[in-house]
Subunit: 244 residues, 2 copies
DNA sequence: TCACCTATTTTGGTCTAACCAAATTTAGAA
DNA sequence: TTCTAAATTTGGTTAGACCAAAATAGGTGA
């Protein structure tokens, strides 16, 4: 009863012809998440509460929640209360997963994405060679050791492989890159899973990682970039075969 | 015996306990868009058709449409039929706009994003210096001329500025980069708009563009990278002042 | 006291039936 | 044929209801 017509005389708000009613709720909830009024990782109030609080019907409230879910500001498990998630670059990229899947169902989509990954990592190792700190290099070294230790176990090797590359993404100390790393690995994982692995391949990849590491440690950006590019392009040859 | 003792073993999924009903519709429509059964840029069938076609209630259908809209597969103007949009990298990044806005309401978010833009463009000009084709360089030259011609008109300068950088994003012939260019400019535009402009600043920026162009033309990646970095970092100093 | 099982209440997911206003289509007038 | 006005979709929204799963309260036995 907040809206219908309290006092028709003076109310002159061009009411809500602009956009859906759910948008208003979405904006308000977004704002409440931003201000911390709705705490990160806490459940959203029940729908029936929200409909009273916003003076809207249940359908509108649900639509708002759905929108928030689709943009990653709340996490919606089927029969549970939606969980508030304060957005970061990671959740941002997570939210793109649905569409990205469709972009990757043909080879050109995957290739374009993989090429851009190579491109980014080339820049990353170059940057690392120039500006990595001592502890960055130590972390890289540890990741490399773990990678070597896992050569016999393809499953573990896969994990330590990702972790090694992940260290690279962490070196610029910019949260955008780790988010991108997770995005790349998540998006491309389905294709990598189809690739056959073997201790022999693992050893080749480990050697490549070693080359990259040494170039970074020796502060040689050109060598690092070249090693990285060779490494990832070789991997592509193996992935490419998985397209029919 | 009638006790609802949930023996997890023998319980079979009688209906479709797996996720929401709208998810099924979303998946089917996604598929129909992918196969072309639903044509790009054509309107979606009316909700009442869809509810019959999928045997679901209107609420569910609307939820599905909302989800599709939020992930960018259909374009939803308030009182019009949703328009099918076959996804590409561009629409993918468009769909992130909502959340990205919230990531950019503090300085650190903007700075992180801008830093990653600098990072990408450094790699881009480096790549351009190494591998740009003749017609790429010709295009860059034309963009530079347009930029110079617009020095007196800050509004036109802004456009030609973006266009000049846009040419850079086009050089690798990978659709990911133009999409990223649009994303960066779109995301960062609100902050750039607050920045004061003047023919003097424009001239400085044009000179920077000129430096970048010359370095690329002369096939000097290091000079190109340095020119680009100086250019964008100088711009950041102006943007930074817009935060209170 | 506290862990464990059960009954009760919430709450999310779905449906039906309607109403309104804007969009679209149709029909009719000029 | 063209333009306008009425009739018909169709999207946006509300209300009330049902079900099953989740959360909670309550009681029982160790």
């Amino acid at each position: 009863m907040a809206h219908p017509k309290p006092h028709p005389a003076d109310i002159q708000i061009p009411p809500d012809r602009t956009g859906r009613a759910s948008d208003r709720i979405v904006r308000e909830i977004e704002a409440q998440i931003a201000t911390g009024e709705l705490v990160d990782r806490a459940p959203l109030p029940p729908e029936r509460d929200l409909m009273e609080r916003f003076g809207a019907s249940r359908a509108v409230v649900r639509e708002a929640i759905s929108a928030l879910s689709n943009s990653g500001l709340v996490e919606c498990k089927p029969r549970f209360r939606p969980i508030v998630r304060k957005p970061d670059f990671r959740t941002l990229i997570d939210a793109t997963g649905d569409v990205m899947r469709h972009l990757l169902d043909d080879e050109s989509g995957v290739k374009n994405l993989y090429e851009s990954r190579i491109f980014l990592e080339r820049a990353l190792v170059r940057e690392s060679a120039l500006r990595a700190r001592k502890d960055d290099i130590a972390e890289l070294s540890m990741a490399l050791d773990a990678n070597e230790a896992a050569i016999a176990d393809s499953d573990a090797f896969y994990k330590t492989d990702m972790a090694f590359h992940g260290v690279l993404y962490g070196i610029p100390k910019n949260p955008v890159y780790p988010a991108l790393h997770q995005a790349f690995t998540g998006w491309l994982a389905p294709h990598w899973d189809k690739m056959l692995r073997s201790p022999e391949r693992n050893r080749v990849n480990f050697r490549a990682h070693q080359d990259i590491f040494l170039a970074i440690r020796d502060r040689d950006p050109d060598a690092a970039e070249m090693a990285l590019e060779n490494h990832l392009r070789a991997a592509w040859e193996y992935v490419r075969g998985t397209f029919d």
